[in-house]
């Protein structure tokens, strides 16, 4: 059943990608709507997969690498769809859905989809902590994608060579606003997630994790994105420089998600 749901979700994301890619070259309102509907269906089916996984494991569905990465992809899709509806802009969809398809397929090959075997029940506070933090990473990933597109579009505009898709990309102003919206979502989710994580660690395990490398790096990430939001309003930074900073900040997120989790922390080591 879980395999079927996984395949169905990937299939829907792939179909959604085809529609988004098509409207990038030849815009059609109906096809754009279909792309959004397919993405929405993919998100629903992937949610059902996560739910089935949670029921089967009798635990949160992301207590392992496969689960958390799957949740990351799901939240990326949810965040993008929300931004698409809010900003009424579909031309980024092709990049996001392509990313989702590749991510989901690669995940299947490199992370074991076997059910996790949690050592102890951790409660809803922990579940919210993980969900919110993963959501923040997904939102930051989306802001990274938007910033990269911004930089490409900016470069094309300055070089005066406009390839076909660049006439269909969102305007710089829209990309900028979408990236900032995404960072706002990420910051709020991360702040809440960290607070819940600290509370859980303090009350449930009694551990003092404030100086744990994961917490320190996460604090750096929070500061880095707050700085981005601040400087993106300053005249000498607004525009391409802010987009570059946003893209660079995501390197910190990747560093936290990979190197810190693997080698520096005891509390987030789930590989």
């Amino acid at each position: 059943m879980m395999l079927f749901l996984y395949v169905a979700a990937v299939g829907l994301y792939a179909l959604s990608f085809l529609c988004y890619a098509r409207i990038l070259y030849a815009p059609q309102v109906a096809l754009g709507r279909l792309a959004s509907v397919l993405l929405c269906l993919g998100i629903i089916v992937q949610y059902l997969e996560l739910l089935a996984r949670a029921k089967a494991a009798n635990s949160i569905p992301y207590d392992d690498l496969y689960g958390s990465m799957s949740l990351f992809a799901w939240l990326l899709g949810v965040t993008y769809l929300g931004l698409e509806l809010f900003h009424r802009e579909r031309s980024v969809g092709a990049f996001v859905t392509l990313g989702l398809v590749v991510w989901m397929v690669v995940l299947r090959f490199f992370a074991t989809p076997a059910l996790p075997n949690p050592e102890l029940p951790r409660g809803s506070l922990f579940a919210f902590h993980v969900t919110l933090n993963t959501w923040s990473y997904a939102a930051f990933a989306l802001s990274f994608i938007l910033s990269v597109i911004y930089l490409i579009q900016d470069r094309m505009l300055r070089s005066r060579r406009m390839a076909t898709p660049s006439w269909r990309f969102p305007a710089l102003d829209v990309l900028d606003r979408m990236a900032r919206s995404s960072v706002y979502i990420g910051l709020i989710a991360l702040a809440l997630g960290v607070a819940m994580g600290l509370d859980y660690a303090w009350h449930e395990t009694g551990a003092r994790v404030l100086y744990d490398p994961k917490v320190v790096v996460t604090a750096f990430i929070l500061v880095a994105y707050v700085v981005y939001l601040r400087v993106s309003r300053i005249s000498s930074w607004r525009g391409p420089r802010a987009a570059l900073l946003c893209a660079f900040n995501f390197a910190l997120v990747l560093f936290s998600y990979t190197f810190v989790n693997l080698y520096l922390t005891k509390f987030h080591h789930f590989y």
Partner: protein
């Protein structure tokens, strides 16, 4: 089926379509303006063509680049295009010598293909231009409301409108800007998105400025100011575009915070220096400024190009983009042609189905008349056959004919199967399935 006429070949019924016209390729503007039809004249001409029996359905398409008569000839005569041409000349009071060699004529599928290419913008002076589709729609709707069209032209023009929309939606033929003015405005949209509520300052009130202002206005620009050395010309342009006007001396004061700057004035030295644009950016708190420099010599100091968040395009930059777009549009022609062929084939399928079903109807009528004659002839010498038995025989023979015609009747409704088979003996053999089951 008033629009269907019989040819000299027995059993074959043809849907005939004829087109004559002149366009920007075959006739210069001095001639085109003499053969143009106003909307009222177009409807009057369509009426007259039908009244004289030259056409049974007629649409007159007249734009600045073409004047064309589309119609369904009422008779089998191959002279319909000549009659249409004579009418065309007499309507405009021209002699045949004046338009000698200027007309093109297409019949049947070629006429359909021509109309579809026109609607797709492939036959336009500016490849892929969008205006022609609107003009075609207006012309057709007026003819339809006037009762000048019938089943054939309705189908043909509806197909043309559909193909025109598809070509623009599914190919790049009409996607990219093809004029310097439009390219500038479209590029501004790449920076700001919607221009609604944005502000623009236009330096100069010449022809190119006029075009840029028109494009800005059509996109709902929020605030438009025009500054020109000749105040009256600026006022005139501002009046037309619904903008504000400021004297040239007030340039520094109005250069406060526009999103878009369009410079198109005649000046030996740049009128917008780097320092001035730095002040604009500062006033805007670093928000991007889009500058279109259409002046020759340039109106914007070249060293301003390096300013952060300033997007500066001069006439050569825009010209190069237009050239790139032109090539991109041309590269899309094969895809557009392929869509056109798809729709031409659809129309042909429909046409063939119409023709084939007519043949079957004719055959049915002939078979029944022969059946009745045969029964009358044979039963005359059979007095022993009772009236009830005669009725049964009549019923059985009727049913026999219907069974024989069942297959060709069904096939005739599948126009795709019939395509290219009519008009030859093989078509009839195929209709009746004569070769099936013999081997």
């Amino acid at each position: 089926m008033a629009a269907i006429t019989e040819t000299d070949r027995p059993g074959a019924i043809r849907v005939r379509i004829a087109l004559i016209g002149c366009n920007h390729v075959t006739a210069p503007v001095e001639l085109r303006e003499r053969i143009a039809f106003t909307p009222e004249q177009a409807l009057a001409a369509a009426d007259e063509l039908r009244r004289q029996g030259i056409l049974e359905e007629a649409v007159v398409l007249s734009t600045c680049n073409r004047s064309e008569l589309y119609g369904v000839p009422g008779e089998a005569s191959m002279a319909a295009p000549e009659a249409m041409q004579d009418f065309f000349l007499s309507f405009h009071g021209l002699s045949s010598r004046e338009l000698d060699g200027r007309f093109y004529r297409w019949m049947g599928t070629d006429a359909v293909r021509h109309l579809f290419r026109v609607s797709a913008g492939l036959d336009s002076m500016l490849l892929g231009e969008a205006e022609i589709l609107g003009q075609l729609k207006t012309t057709y709707n007026q003819a339809l409301d006037h009762g000048a069209t019938g089943p054939i032209l309705n189908r043909m023009f509806q197909g043309a409108l559909e193909v025109g929309k598809r070509v623009r939606a599914e190919t790049e033929v009409g996607a990219r800007p093809m004029s310097v003015a439009l390219a500038g405005v479209k590029l501004a949209e790449r920076v700001f998105g919607s221009l609604k509520g944005r502000s623009a300052l236009c330096l100069g009130a010449g022809a190119v400025s006029d075009q840029v202002v028109e494009h800005l206005r059509s996109r709902g620009i929020g605030n438009l100011k025009i500054v020109n050395r000749t105040f009256d010309r600026a006022a005139e342009l501002a009046g037309r575009a619904g903008g504000e006007v400021a004297p040239w001396e007030a340039l520094e004061s109005v250069l406060t915070a526009p999103d878009i700057l369009v410079a198109s004035v005649s000046a030996r030295e740049p009128v917008l220096t780097r320092a001035m644009l730095e002040r604009v950016l500062e006033a805007r708190n670093g928000k991007p400024v889009f500058v279109v420099d259409l002046g020759v010599p340039r109106n914007v100091a070249p060293d301003a190009a390096g300013l952060y968040n300033l997007y500066l395009y001069n006439i050569d930059d825009l010209g190069e983009i237009v050239e790139q777009n032109k090539k991109a549009r041309e590269a899309e022609i094969p895809r557009a042609e392929s869509l056109i062929e798809e729709h031409v084939a659809r129309f042909e399928t429909w046409r063939m189905a119409l023709e084939a079903s007519s043949i079957v109807d004719d055959l049915r009528e002939r078979f029944h008349s022969q059946r009745e004659a045969l029964l009358e002839e044979k039963l005359k010498d059979m007095p022993e056959v009772s009236p009830d038995e005669r009725k049964r025989i009549a019923h059985i023979t009727e049913e026999l004919i219907e069974r024989v015609l069942e297959q060709p009747g069904a096939r005739s409704r599948q126009g795709g199967v019939m395509r290219g088979r009519l008009g030859a003996l093989e078509a009839l053999r195929h209709l009746f399935g004569l070769d099936e089951g013999k081997h």
